[in-house]
């Protein structure tokens, strides 16, 4: 591969790989910005991946080529509802938020696998037939250098992910809702004295994280694996968690971090067709993405500040 070829390969695959992570990590941003730890992202993705595939398989004849898109919505809805469990436990029942997130992870997988068994009487689903197509963007694709990198072989889901990231940034940093969200996560008592309903804000935030995590999962299952089984979502949620922290709890940061992961991942694969690099043992390429990430957080990112009140249940009158 020539340098340019490598670039034309790296950029689109990185963005593609990142899409589910972006959405899920931004879900995490919403939840944690409101003060609720969400390590249940993995479980939310599982629910999304599962519902997305089941919907796609079931309604493909009804909705045709729109199926995957509608499946995203349905998956988001399902995971949003599922996340209410976490919200109730973490916010209303004052559960340790990490515990309840772990429970979400366990429960998500268990419920999804059990349902697959009930629905299809087997351990994993069939392959879906209708997927997201990829396309070139007319005119833009002809721009030299940038065209082939950004506007060829584009996935609608990648556009969605980037759009959601920008939208999330606007919501979190520009709207009253976002201001309140962040206030609730930093200093809930202050927000309370300003007449903001802390509990409500946190519920909304957790549900948003459910919806986005669900969509993320459904993107993964519908663009990458094509079916759902026990291994479909395998640590993606934790990678999203890492992206959220890496991105300093900022939607655009999460976007960047997820794309960085994708970039590192693709780089390790591209390495196989770059002279010299292809001669080093495969294991070094396999661990490359993770090592790069550690170097990146250690070297360039430094200290990241979690929202101050994250992890603490809000109890009126407590100091």
């Amino acid at each position: 591969m020539s340098f340019l070829e490598v670039l034309y390969f790296l950029v689109p695959t990185a963005i593609f790989y990142a899409a589910p992570l972006i959405l899920t990590a931004i879900g995490g941003v919403f939840s944690e910005r409101s003060g609720v730890v969400n390590i249940g992202l993995e479980g939310l993705m599982v629910i999304g991946a599962f519902v997305g595939i089941v919907f796609n398989l079931t309604y493909v004849d009804t909705f045709g080529s729109w199926t995957p898109w509608i499946a995203l919505l349905v998956a988001g809805l399902a995971a949003g509802i599922f996340s209410i469990l976490h919200a109730v436990a973490a916010i209303s029942f004052r559960a340790d938020q990490t515990v309840s997130g772990v429970a979400i992870n366990l429960l998500g997988l268990a419920v999804a696998l059990f349902s697959v068994k009930m629905l299809y009487d087997k351990g994993q689903t069939d392959m879906i037939k209708v997927r997201f197509p990829r396309f070139n963007i007319p005119y833009l694709e002809d721009i030299p250098l940038i065209g082939p990198m950004l506007f060829k072989d584009v996935y609608g889901t990648s556009i969605l992910a980037i759009a959601v990231a920008i939208l999330a940034w606007v919501i979190i940093y520009k709207t009253p809702f976002g201001l309140r969200l962040r206030a609730v996560g930093e200093h809930p008592t202050a927000a309370d004295t300003m007449g903001i309903n802390v509990t409500k804000m946190r519920y909304i935030a957790v549900i948003i994280s459910g919806v986005l995590g669900g969509i993320g999962g459904a993107i993964y299952s519908q663009t990458i694996s094509g079916d759902f089984g026990h291994g479909t979502i395998n640590g993606q949620g934790f990678m999203a968690l890492a992206a959220m922290i890496f991105g300093k709890w900022h939607p655009l940061g999460a976007l960047g971090a997820a794309i960085f992961f994708g970039f590192a991942q693709s780089l390790s694969i591209a390495g196989n067709s770059i002279p010299y690099i292809q001669d080093i043992p495969a294991v070094y390429l396999h661990i490359l993405p993770y090592v790069l990430t550690i170097f990146a957080v250690a070297g360039f990112i430094g200290k990241a500040h979690a929202p101050k009140a994250v992890g603490q249940p809000y109890i009126k009158g407590k100091r």
Partner: protein, 515 residues
Amino acid sequence: MEYVIEMLGIRKQFGSFVANDNITLQLKKGEIHALLGENGAGKSTLMNVLFGLYQPEAGEIRVNGKKVKISDPNVANDLGIGMVHQHFMLVENFTVTENIILGSEPTKKGIVNIKDAAKKVKALSEKYGLNVDPYAKIEDISVGMQQRVEIIKTLYRGAENIIFDEPTASLTPQEISELIQIMKRLIAEGKSIILITHKLQEIMEVSDRVTVIRKGQGIGTVTTSETTPNQLAELMVGRQVEFKTKKAKANPKEEILKVENLVVTDYRNIEKVKGLNLSIRSGEIVGIAGIDGNGQTELIEAITGLRKVKSGTVSLNNKNITNLKPRDITESGVGHIPQDRHKHGLVLDFPIGHNIALQTYYQSPIATAGVIDYSKISELAQKIMKEYDVRSGHGEVTPARALSGGNQQKAIIGREVDRNPDLLIAALPTRGLDVGAIEFIHQRLIEQRDKGKAVLLISFELDEVMNVSDRIAVIYDGQIIDTVNPNETTEQELGLLMAGQDRKSNNGQVKEGDE
């Protein structure tokens, strides 16, 4: 005269503990009404009830004569009640404007209209002379400005009646006099104020009437002009209180601490201590007077090893301790009562007993061969808690968090003094405490002095510095610009010095302490 706010027979319980018991408070229009009581008397609780944060178990609240139910702060806002909380309710990484508009944000097409809001903030701040920068981040501004932000928050929501819960506890004297001006301006605008403070001179200076509560019970309301600080203190504590701490003349001996040409930078690498010299001898209390931010924090942290010294030396008993590890410095004989008891003084989630052992847990007799004998910790804690009158719910096993500020502070002082250090550094040791507790702590500092120890007192309160110290070193811009004898100076003179005015240019005479 009609009342704008009436709280009648208020009762508030936390579990089985009664924090407010049948308390009545009536606020007249246009008055400054002081609310006075010891730490934990129930002042904040009462105000939180008025602000809708707590629901009372009994009693009623009337606003402009009409009975109301204040179910949450929104209702209070709508009724024109605003509150400046004891612990600031500010989101640290938000800007001033963002904090002010939070909860009632002006928008344009769904987007927060920060520009408009900032203009409004600016206007309000100019109208009342509050001087805030709408775009500054809270974490970057001084406590005084944070306080003003809190005030604008209430004004922004159109508050007519404003509660100030201990607004002056963490302010410098300059900031306090500014605040008093502001309150007077608010009154002039027709607003009414409830003011909580432990500082009786403030009450005397600004308030019209005073309501006193003791241990959750209402004691009564008096007109300020018809009372004296001594009477107020007695009403609130239930006994006579000494204001001017009694002490014998100092008898300083050999030099304990010697700081020479000290240069220290802060966390942003900006020089904060710039070639400072200071010497403290055994048997004397040296007070550092100065406006916050003139290098006090960096000085203490440098002496105690918490911050690296850039140049210069610190020696203790003629031994160079510059840049030693904090523990080595502690062991050479330094005790430190930190400025922020929650952040630096205590592990709030530990029992108070563990906190009392926080400097000695690793030493004999508590620890042998790395193993801690927890019964020894209990013994030590019980002893110190008895000696220093530390009151807690369940003895030494009570979480430190559950102690009142005064008791937390007494525990810290007990911990530090009990080790019998040659040098005791006390930074703002009485911040936020009631007169009774202050008296107790001052006595302890003097006791140390009388035992032949050196005491370094840092305080922003001039009367505390003047009362307790044997010598006052004035810090300005990272240097000790002068040392004065408290008996031979006035608050005015100190104030000028602290503002960086050289005394030489005033009266052409240099004094070297009481030498």
